[in-house]
Symmetry: C2
Subunit: 182 residues, 2 copies
DNA sequence: TAAAATTATTAAGTGATACTTCATTTGTTA
DNA sequence: TAACAAATGAAGTATCACTTAATAATTTTA
């Protein structure tokens, strides 16, 4: 968090942008930008967004959220990254960084009580493997129905028509790995 | 940007967390959090970071930077996402979202003047294809040297020892696609 | 090398606004 | 209906992001 300014300066200089120019584009005084780069103050969120856009990067990058992306092979349970909240109340968590070195994508699906997911994975073309950690799920794939219990696994093509219902009296957790196909 | 509060509330409620609880954990008054959720104010960056951590998500997510991740097939040139600034001054840009539906990862490498990249891709195990858009690069792969000119392509295994030097009197741009191997 | 010009930093002050306090409302349960 | 819990609103405060203006550092020009 205290290295925001450092990153801004590094990228700005690498782009051969002067402090004045960037400040003008962002809409603050050069002095203000200098203070931000020197970590005398934090920018407001609005300002930080402007800076990110003008440096063709993201707020997340400037804050340092992707820092470990290329370094850390270990990904702690507590670091699980919430990325999506589906319409039907399904949460998607990344359980290991989807960095350039990973062939498979790994994520955790949390189905809340009475969750009924119709449109999960419609964007995905490939294969998915799931291992049920908690709860009880009913899969409907091509009009056949399968009840999956903790410890069970399921392996299917993501392009098939399917539906997942949480038929457990609580939360169900499905650990998934996926690979896209040609 | 004006939907930060909305996202916070949505995730908080889905986690069955009360406003009071979250506020306490974050270290602000319930009222303050309410105002943030109702978009009466923006949180400070420090507060937003706290909120993100307590909701097991990221600032980027709350700001909505990943919004189009699963939706948009088109990725504009202007949207190119700066993700890394290598030690040797090589910039890495994402040129299409690395979302769950993409089998290949695509990125742009920008080599600045006199850039000499020794450790690029050491993290990557798989294959890389490159098409040189601008400039002139010298690849050294397994002690053999190849000069690549605009329009040329290069295809190699990422685990090999190699080195890329920008031997052009300006910036060189290499468009890359990659796939990880088993 | 000095002088000029450009760029970056610092100091001091101000204004916006993130946050607090406290009262009010809304919702829930008995 | 009361009684409680949870969320929201109003008003005021204090922090701190930002401005202005002067200074310092760096680069350019002659």
């Amino acid at each position: 968090m205290d290295r925001i300014g450092e990153r801004i300066k590094r990228i700005r200089e690498h782009k051969a942008l002067q402090l004045n120019d960037l400040a003008k584009r962002v809409g603050i005084s050069p002095s203000a930008l200098s203070q931000i780069e020197k970590a005398k103050t934090y920018p407001s969120i609005v300002t930080l967004k402007q800076i990110a856009e003008n440096l063709q990067t993201t707020v997340g990058e400037l804050i340092g959220e992707n820092e470990s992306l290329f370094n850390n092979p270990v990904f702690r349970k507590e670091e699980n990254l919430f990325i999506e909240l589906n319409d039907s109340g399904t949460e998607v968590f990344i359980v290991s960084q989807h960095d350039l070195s990973k062939q498979m994508e790994t994520f955790m699906l949390k189905f809340h009580l009475n969750s009924d997911s119709l449109n999960l994975f419609t964007h995905h073309n490939g294969q998915i493997f799931g291992y049920l950690l908690e709860g009880e799920l009913q899969f409907e794939i091509d009009n056949k129905s399968y009840v999956v219990l903790p410890g069970d696994t399921i392996y299917f093509n993501s392009k098939r028509n399917f539906r997942i219902q949480n038929i457990y009296s609580g939360e169900s957790k499905l650990l998934c790995t996926s690979i896209a196909s040609k």
